[in-house]
């Protein structure tokens, strides 16, 4: 009962935050509200007992990305440009997509169903093995770092690649080299 109430309140706040983000033109407020949105998502993940994911959502979503978006605002503009087009077509597209997504959830197993396919394949082995074979109480860590070590290596490589990409685009290292070359040509 109390769980349902908490879920309802959090989801209602999530929806209101999302609507406010859509309506407001002042980008500083939008960035702050998107941080609020991330914190609310983190709270919802806590109610689902997914504490590791909630931790990541709070640190990355509410922390780092807010800072980075503020940095972007500092480089660009403070307010959103008024769009001259009508919002009718995007609204219809979003509504239809949302309806299809909700329709898709109808076939999903019930929340917490022990007979759901995800609970029957390798999950029981991992749950037992995390204590017996690895002796790590946090199953998330044992799956992430040991059972699924390959995948995490790939994820780390993705973070690495993303970082290199942003550096190439933003840090001006490439531009500096080009300017050096131009200077050499001038000489």
């Amino acid at each position: 009962m109390i769980d349902t109430l908490i879920d309802l309140i959090l989801f209602a706040m999530l929806v209101f935050t999302a609507l406010a983000i859509v309506r407001i033109n002042h980008l500083f407020a939008v960035v702050m509200l998107s941080g609020v949105f991330s914190l609310l998502s983190a709270l919802l993940l806590v109610t689902l007992d997914a504490v590791d994911v909630a931790f990541t959502e709070a640190a990355v979503g509410a922390g780092i990305s807010t800072v980075l978006m503020l940095g972007t605002i500092a480089l660009t503009a403070r307010t959103q440009k008024k769009s001259s087009r009508s919002g009718l077509v995007p609204f219809i597209v979003v509504t239809v997509t949302g309806a299809v997504l909700v329709y898709g959830t109808l076939d999903m197993p019930d929340f917490g169903d022990p007979n759901a396919p995800a609970q029957l394949h390798v999950a029981p082995e991992y749950m037992a093995g995390s204590i017996e074979d690895i002796d790590v109480p946090n199953v998330v860590t044992s799956i992430l770092a040991s059972y699924r070590g390959y995948d995490t290596l790939g994820e780390t490589a993705v973070v690495f690649t993303a970082g290199i990409g942003v550096l190439m685009l933003l840090s001006g290292l490439g531009r500096r080299r080009r300017e050096d070359e131009e200077e050499e040509e001038d000489v």
């Binding site: 500083f28 504490v51 590791d52 909630a54 931790f55 990541t56 640190a59 990355v60 922390g63 780092i64 800072v67 980075l68 940095g71 972007t72 500092a74 480089l75 403070r78 074979d133 690895i134 002796d135 790590v136 109480p137 946090n138 998330v140 860590t141 044992s142 992430l144 770092a145 040991s146 070590g149 390959y150 995490t152 290596l153 994820e155 780390t156 490589a157 973070v159 690495f160 993303a162 970082g163 290199i164 942003v166 550096l167 685009l169 933003l170 840090s171 001006g172």
Partner: protein, 146 residues
């Protein structure tokens, strides 16, 4: 932000605590929520908050840009080297039992420690590097403009 006295004092007090918490999340991730990804972000936040309050130049004196760029690659190398080390010891890639054949559970602990450390270092490096890239570009914004 030279005139924000309270922010400066509070930041000075917080930075050390944030770094300590990052180490806790990093090395206690086997037993409590957390791990390399979260710890890396928290560690980066300590330097980012320092950079925001005291200025980018001060932050770059504490954590120079060349070091950040090296760390980005170092973490991935630590992770991959853990796998290569287990290969050289005659086990499968990333089979942590290799690090203590007599007691594979201890080997698992060493392996998880190493790869989580690699993840944490890369994530710290990438987050700080992206922040430096964003904040290092002109024009800097005046406080009043917000």
């Amino acid at each position: 932000m030279h005139h924000h006295l309270i922010l400066r004092v509070v930041t000075k007090m917080l930075v050390g605590t944030i770094i300590l918490f990052a180490f806790y999340v990093q090395f206690h991730g086997d037993f409590s929520p957390g791990g390399g990804f979260q710890a890396g972000v928290i560690m980066a936040v300590a330097f980012i908050i320092y950079g925001i309050v005291f200025g980018l130049q001060k932050a770059k004196q504490v954590f120079p840009e060349w070091l950040v760029h090296k760390l980005v690659a170092l973490g991935v190398l630590i992770y991959a080297a853990t796998g290569v080390a287990s290969l050289l010891l005659g086990y499968n890639f990333l089979d942590y039992g290799a690090f203590n054949p007599g007691h594979p559970i201890y080997g698992q602990h060493w392996g998880i420690f190493a790869v989580e450390l690699g993840v944490g270092i890369t994530v710290t490096g990438v987050m700080v590097a992206i922040y430096y890239a964003f904040a290092g570009r002109p024009p800097p914004m005046k406080d009043e403009d917000w």
